[in-house]
């Protein structure tokens, strides 16, 4: 851990206090640890020109890949979009803590919101068939070579859409998605892994939330 001056300590304290009021699921020490992690990541981030005020896409993807074992590029972009609530292309400290609170400790309701944002690729508040197809495009890995895999994928999209599109308007609204997930939890990550596995969460918390060394 970096040597901390009295000033930076004070700053950290203030940040913790502020975030504690805004974000659920974390206690003081946990927030403190996550801030320190954020600062470390920021320091590692090589930036040309003026320094960014938050984590950039590349760095964040590195975290998702290295720490949360995600591999799917479309999903990682989606998670970035979900974290970056103001859509300015960087993840600032508050977004980081907020995002992780859902990631690690979120309630089902919070996770549904997160997933929906991930899957809504063009951010128009609806998930369309095209979007689903885009996300599932490479999902048939052992398809007979003489057949067109897109046919099968399209059929799966069709079947899933029929099941989840409760108001039959051809698009998945948030309500459609939410109801479907509440009915069948397996739909929470219907179109790709966008939340960490329990085991990964456990590992992460073990490393990051351990009592700071004296």
């Amino acid at each position: 851990m970096m040597e901390m001056t009295a000033k930076s300590k004070k700053l950290l304290h203030a940040q913790v206090e502020a975030l504690l009021r805004k974000v659920e699921h974390f206690n003081k020490t946990e927030i403190e640890n996550l801030i320190l992690m954020f600062n470390t990541l920021m320091a590692e981030q090589v930036s040309r020109g003026r320094p960014a005020n938050g984590l950039k896409r590349g760095k964040f993807r590195g975290v998702l890949q290295g720490t949360f074992e995600m591999t799917n590029a479309v999903m990682m972009d989606g998670v970035f979009r979900s974290f970056d609530t103001d859509g300015d292309g960087v993840i600032i400290l508050e977004e980081w803590i907020r995002g992780l609170s859902v990631f690690l400790r979120g309630t089902l309701e919070e996770k549904i919101k997160h997933s929906f944002r991930v899957y809504d690729l063009n951010n128009d508040k609806y998930i369309s068939k095209d979007e689903i197809f885009h996300m599932l495009k490479h999902s048939f890995i052992k398809w007979p070579s003489e057949e067109d895999p897109d046919e099968g994928i399209k059929d799966v999209v069709e079947i899933t859409m029929k099941k989840m599109d409760l108001d039959h308007d051809g698009l998945l609204s948030y309500e459609d998605f939410q109801k479907s997930v509440l009915d069948e939890n397996l739909f929470l990550q219907a179109f790709g892994p966008c939340l960490p596995e329990d085991a990964t969460i456990e590992k992460f918390e073990e490393v990051v939330f351990k009592e700071p060394e004296q």
């Binding site: 599932l136 799966v156 079947i159 397996l186 219907a190």
Partner: protein
């Protein structure tokens, strides 16, 4: 002969030659060479051994004739060496020999025991060659030998080495001819022979079964320590004309054992007769009926097997041995049987598409060496195997049975008897009509997607599958037939939790189907579910145990779960108050896990070994704890398990000691009839003990039992409640209380129009009530006697016994005797010394009926 003894021969642990066919072959070969040695190599035969060969002989003094000097202590040969010592000396029971010619003479003397002598000689002189030519020469490298050529000792050594080699070569040929049974082959033959256990003209055997239902993944059923000896499984066959045969199938062939059945006593494994190459050959030897009829059978089935004849001819030529037509006929049947099972995987498994799982195992089992040995024969048998395959198809379809054994029936059988359950394997082929249904195509499509999909798409396809009507048989069987079941089970081996959950959600439903259940067990599905029980994902635990609860409806399944440690894991799941009992959602999930765990244990507890295993895993106190919980949903499987286990003394004692009687009584007043029934049934079983009867009374359990008597429409509940009342009324204090609630009147009302399970208990209870004077009159006044006497027309033994007791108890009252005479039925005093009969006997009265029953029993 060194190599033969050290490499080729099979030795037992105490340095004897095993009596295996291959060893017999070896001894015969050595015998031939020894006998011819003298005439072929006279000079070498006279060469003196470095050390005499000595062994324990069975020869007697009288066996030594001319050429030997017989003395008081033994015998010695007239021939002497240069120093004047005899070449053969005999001091009972030992004989020592110093030249090959003496050895061969001795074998001539032994006449029909010569094999035995030679075998003893080989067994007791393992370093044969070293004794004959000396250790030094044996250790001399090959190339140095030529320098010593002139020495006769060296010549002898070289000769012996040649012989050794020749015999080994022949031996290899023999092995190639040898039968090496594989588990699949044995199973095939068993299946094949089972077809002929039918009644009627086709019948060759009365019955045929394995001693063990459990099949190891390698296909063997023998316990592992016996598998080391090459044993595959044990079969009990009852031929039509002989005692039951206890047969061991091992890789070297089949033989009769010392009566090995359910009990596993080491001595029972011993071989009692010769080796046969398969069961049919053995049966042919011991059962003339089988032999006679198998030929007939053969002619009946000749047509579809025609192609085999052609292939068989090749085989004949290769063997080039003249045979009588009869023998040849038999050979053909053999060949048909044999070739098929050798190369053809079990048809049923093929139908189910299991081969892809087990194929690799099979290859492993047949080691490279074995393949080589089989090499020469393979071509021929392969050909035969292929042609035979088509004919099996016919027989398999003949065996087609009704598709589903009654689902409801098995569920009702809460008794601990295991025999009448799904023991039988149901054979099934899809009906052509169902194949055309759209659901079938739907399933086919989804299975195809499932095969191709990655994790994300897998879950979506599984969700789509859940939307099918999984309780519909067409769909269940389509999933099975199209290879979906295999895929679902394979998902359980992956690391993806969501796929596993999806798969189990489907399995939990389709496992309501008997055939699916059996296939799951055959595909090692239970093992895979048990493996998922201790992953820290509650939903997964719950779903896996729910599915186990469905599958474990027959004995082999229950056994499999136990053997793979499932019971320990399930019991651990009951411990839901253990981990941080946070109220709310967490607790709810824990309770759901516990409920599913208890459901699985309920199914499993129908086997007595499992009851014991649940107890050993510490299940009783946990069940007691859950019983106290206010959740009815949990109480049902918990009480279900307890009442099932209450057939064991250990459990009855524990139910008393852990204070569970109180909770059982409490649940008698629940709104749920199933729970009431289970509680009453548990009390029924436990109330054999006086303490429990007293506890039921002190916890005010008698009144709720009586009020259950009014639920006349639920016969199961009625049977359990009347049973509990019967057993509780063994204590007279309880009878008094039952009286207060007018139980007697209600019981008499239940004497007519009830199923036997209810009647047995009602009459049993009346017998107890009649111990009190006042009740005797009440029973007779209420029309009880007439109803009781009418029950004597039945055949249920338990019922008859109870009726006899009840009537006997009533008949001790004088008034009643008179009253019943007026019913024109004369009553006999059916006291414990039952011969003491009084009063006269009417033609339709009690006495003749009772007597006839007594005689019948």
């Amino acid at each position: 002969m060194g190599l033969i003894l050290s490499r080729a021969a099979q030795w037992t642990s105490c340095c004897k030659l095993e009596s295996a066919p291959l060893n017999e072959f070896l001894v015969t070969q050595v015998l031939n060479y020894v006998e011819n040695f003298v005439s072929r190599h006279p000079q070498e035969a006279e060469h003196l051994f470095e050390e005499p060969l000595q062994w324990t002989t069975t020869l007697k003094k009288v066996d030594f004739k001319e050429d030997y000097v017989i003395s008081a202590i033994g015998a010695k040969s007239l021939e002497k060496d240069s120093e004047g010592k005899p070449l053969l000396q005999y001091f009972p029971p030992f004989v020592s020999v110093r030249t090959i010619s003496q050895l061969s003479k001795l074998l001539q003397l032994a006449a029909d025991r010569k094999r035995q002598e030679l075998q003893a000689c080989l067994e007791e002189n393992r370093d044969l060659i070293a004794k004959i030519v000396g250790q030094r020469l044996v250790n001399t490298p090959e190339e140095n030998l030529s320098a010593l050529e002139l020495d006769i000792r060296v010549k002898l050594f070289i000769l012996l080495k040649h012989i050794d080699e020749k015999i080994l070569n022949k031996f290899v040929g023999e092995i190639a001819k040898q039968v090496k049974l594989l588990p699949a082959a044995v199973e095939e033959e068993v299946e094949f022979l089972k077809q002929y256990c039918t009644e009627g003209g086709k019948r060759l055997l009365k019955s045929l079964r394995y001693t063990s239902d459990y099949e190891f993944p390698n296909g063997c059923r023998a316990p592992p320590w016996r598998q080391l000896l090459g044993e595959i499984c044990y079969v009990v066959i009852e031929p039509c004309d002989a005692e039951a045969l206890y047969i061991t199938c091992c890789s070297a062939g089949v033989f009769l054992n010392a009566g090995l059945d359910k009990e596993e006593d080491e001595s029972l494994y011993e071989r009692q007769g010769d080796f046969y190459e398969d069961m049919a050959t053995l049966l042919k030897r011991v059962s003339p009926h089988f032999e006679k009829n198998v030929r007939k059978q053969y002619f009946v089935e000749q047509k579809p097997r025609k192609s085999i004849h052609v292939a068989h001819v090749d085989y004949e030529i290769e063997k080039a041995q003249p045979k009588t037509p009869e023998e040849r006929e038999w050979e053909k049947v053999q060949q048909a049987l044999y070739a098929r099972k050798k190369r053809e995987p079990c048809q049923r498994w093929r139908n189910l598409g299991v081969l892809s799982i087990f194929g690799s195992d099979e290859d492993l089992m047949m080691s490279a060496a074995e393949k080589k040995r089989l090499g020469s024969k393979t071509k021929v048998t392969m050909k035969v195997g292929l042609t035979a395959a088509s004919s099996i198809g016919l027989t398999a379809s003949q065996r087609r049975r009704s598709i589903v054994a009654s689902l409801s029936e098995e569920h009702c059988s809460e008794s601990s008897s295991e025999s009448e359950e799904e023991e039988e394997q149901t054979e099934r082929r899809p009906d052509t009509s169902t194949e055309l249904q759209s659901e079938y195509w739907q399933v086919q499509k989804l299975v195809k997607y499932l095969k191709a999909a990655d994790q994300t798409a897998t879950v979506l396809v599984l969700c789509a599958m859940m939307d099918l009507d999984l309780m519909k048989e067409v769909i269940q069987l389509a999933i099975l037939d199209l290879g979906g079941l295999e895929l679902l089970l394979n998902l359980l081996d992956t690391t993806d939790i969501r796929s596993k959950i999806g798969s189990l959600k489907i399995l939990a439903k389709i496992s309501q189907n008997v055939i699916i259940r059996q296939t799951i067990v055959n595909m090692r599905g239970l093992q895979r579910m048990v493996n998922n029980l201790d992953l820290p994902v509650k939903e997964l635990q719950a779903l896996a145990s729910e599915t186990i609860a469905h599958v474990a409806k027959f004995r082999r399944a229950r056994r499999t779960v136990r053997i793979h440690g499932g019971i320990r894991k399930l019991v651990k799941m009951l411990d839901c108050f253990h981990y941080s009992a946070k109220p709310g959602e967490d607790m709810e999930k824990n309770l759901e896990v516990a409920r599913c765990g208890a459901s699985a244990l309920w199914s499993l507890s129908k086997s007595s070994k499992n009851k014991e295993a649940i107890r050993k895993a510490g299940g009783i106190p946990l069940l007691g704890l859950l019983l106290r919980s206010p959740y009815e949903k949990i109480a049902i499987p918990v009480v279900g398990t307890l009442q099932e286990c209450a057939s064991q003394k250990n459990y009855r004692v524990a139910i008393q000691n852990e204070g569970m009687v109180k909770d059982l009584v409490k649940n008698l007043s629940s709104d749920n009839e199933e729970l009431q029934m289970l509680c009453a049934s548990a009390i029924f079983k436990c109330a054999e003990d006086k303490l429990t009867r007293d506890l039921v009374r002190s916890h005010h359990g008698l009144q709720p039992l009586v009020s259950l008597l009014s639920k006349a429409e639920n016969k199961q509940l009625l049977a359990a409640a009347t049973g509990a009342i019967w057993k509780c009324s063994i204590s007279m204090e309880n009878v008094a209380i039952f009286q207060e609630y007018k139980a007697l009147h209600m019981l008499i009302g239940l004497l007519t129009d009830q199923p036997e399970e209810v009647l047995v208990n009602v009459v049993g209870a009346l017998g107890q009530f009649a111990q009190i004077q006042a009740n005797k009159a009440a029973i007779c006044n209420g029309g009880g006697i007439r109803a009781l006497i009418n029950l004597l027309n039945g055949t249920n033994q338990a019922l008859l016994v109870n009726v006899a007791k009840a009537v006997g108890a009533c008949a001790t009252e004088r008034d009643n005797v008179a009253r019943s005479s007026s019913l024109s039925a004369s009553i006999c005093q059916q006291s414990s010394d039952s011969d003491n009969l009084c009063l006269d006997v009417g033609p339709h009265g009690l006495f003749p009926r009772m007597l006839s029953h007594l005689q019948r029993n």
